[in-house]
């Protein structure tokens, strides 16, 4: 199917964080908070680091894993949580269940409930996402090759990461758009699938996508 009529509207987004009122002093309370936290909180603790102030954790790339290590000194749990890749889950609820599973497993293994010091309490936070129009419209996939390097990081987040939660197909917006153009762009879609959205920064994702698009459209790997 060639659906060249459908242009690609480039959007941007911003996140704003809110307190949920839920907190955990120990692993049992964490388990309880985890089961009660709104979906937007689970989302925030896995993805919020991309657009919110924080120092890149070299080892633990979600807030739950980082707290297990820094707050509870539970290295085993931190490792088990840090390896979770949210893109592999159908939805936020399944991701939540998997985190709960690993927390419960650790609780079963431990003779005592691990506690955090009073100044290392975990605070469940949630985010609201604000979606904006950049006014930029692309009419052909080749235009993405030139546009990608200039794309705002919020746009990369919205189209490449947030899309997986937002759309029925659970795929990024670039791939969804390219699929509309038929077989011609299937190899490009295959290449895009190799970009890891979770273990990279937004800048790295943007660079990698740019490289793939330029290579496909013959612009060279700059």
């Amino acid at each position: 199917m060639n659906n060249g009529e459908r242009p690609f509207h480039v959007r941007d987004c911003a996140l704003i964080s809110l307190a949920t009122g839920l907190r955990a002093h120990n692993l049992r309370e964490f388990q309880d908070g985890l089961s009660r936290a709104p979906e937007s909180s689970i989302y925030h603790h896995f993805w919020g680091r991309f657009l919110q102030p924080r120092f890149d954790e070299p080892e633990y790339n979600n807030d739950f894993a980082a707290w297990a290590y820094r707050g509870l000194h539970e290295k085993a749990l931190a490792e088990r949580l840090s390896v979770l890749d949210p893109t592999e889950f159908e939805d936020i609820e399944s991701l939540r269940q998997e985190v709960l599973e690993r927390v419960e497993e650790r609780l079963d293994e431990n003779e005592f409930v691990p506690w955090a010091r009073s100044d290392q309490i975990f605070f469940f936070t949630q985010s609201q996402i604000i979606v904006l129009d950049t006014g930029r419209v692309l009419n052909h996939p080749s235009e993405l090759a030139d546009s990608l390097p200039e794309l705002a990081l919020g746009s990369v987040f919205y189209h490449f990461i947030d899309a997986r939660r937002r759309t029925m197909e659970r795929i990024d917006d670039f791939t969804a758009w390219l699929e509309d153009w038929g077989e011609e762009f299937s190899p490009l879609c295959q290449k895009i699938m190799t970009v890891d959205p979770y273990f990279s920064s937004l800048k790295e994702i943007r660079n990698e996508l740019t490289r793939i698009f330029r290579s496909f459209f013959g612009g060279g790997e700059k």
């Binding site: 941007d12 911003a14 964080s17 809110l18 009122g21 102030p53 605070f123 949630q126 705002a152």
Partner: protein, 413 residues
Amino acid sequence: MNQILQQYGKVTGHEVISHLEQLAESLKGLKVVHVNSTRVGGGVAEILHKLVPLMNSLGLDAEWRVIEGNPDFFNCTKGFHNALQGFRTIIPESLLRVYEQVNEENSEELRPLLQEADIVFVHDPQPAALIKWMENRKGKWVWRCHIDCSRPYRPVWKYLRNYVKEYDASIFSLAQFAQPMPHPQYLIAPSIDPVSEKNIELPPHEVEAVYEQFGLKPDLPLILQVSRFDRFKDPIGVIEAYRLAKKVIPLQLVLAGGTAADDPEGEAVLEEVERASAGDPDIHILLLPPDAHRTINALQRAADIVLQKSIKEGFGLTVTEAMWKGKPVIGGDTGGIRLQVIDHYTGFRVRTPEGAALRIRYLLHHRERLEEMGHLARHLVKENFLLTRHLMEYLALMISLVKGFKDRIDVSK
């Protein structure tokens, strides 16, 4: 793009400015008023000096008003400040009445403006009670708390909460500062202004000039703490740390600060600091006027290491300023310092003067680590703690207030 936005674009990149313009698009013409209690001194006033013109440059109709108070009022609100930071502070009923009376008097003058505004940001406890006399307010009211109130002294918080709960939303700097409230609590970290006198790049001769100006020795390592003379900033602990480190490494200490118009305790603390430092020619206590921004900038650039050994800290903008200048910071393990000083990466977090002394010695012995940490510190601030990010979150919050509280707000349609 107008001049003020261009100026910021040069530091942050134009992508950031374009993002702000998109966010502001749906807010154009919105009447926004900020209210606080001092126009000079302290981080809040510094932020508002720039945040308000920036909002205007993006098409909002923003203004900043300051409430008037008397000495009893500021004694009372200093008590609030201490109590919110967890110190048992008994505030006499008579002072609470003064607090209410001052707020009521200010509400008379501000009412026409505030009742008609679309969004009102009330900063800190001083003007928090204004809302009581604004029955016919039209817009959304937001209480912005800049204080570490993670463990407030309950009787005082209970009193203030009665006012705060009437607001439509509140903003805290960190999740741990948020208190249970019947409205949404947004989390926004503060920021520094990269183009202000306090943070712009300075020519080397201007940095070097501080040595002569304050009688400092160019050949001695310089450690610095910039902050109000306030017990929560632990200036006495800094002197102790300096003395411990000096046993091994020759060095000099500068304690630079001033007092804010709304801080009646400043002079008493300054006297304690002067007594503690008596007899040591390498301790320099500089009482600087509130507008000595360029001098502070030069001192921060001249320093080898910057300390912020606070016992309690809302956010610690002096930490951000030092990091922006590529300095590693040895900071108290508290409040917003934790968000900025990433232990062993952008500096060290310490709990005691002994800990601070150890880290001073370590950094002065390992100059390559000092440089590396300073570089990471500047990068962290550039990505996260500049005024443009702060403004972005204020704009996002205003969209959220105007469009209603939901997980996803799409203003692109």
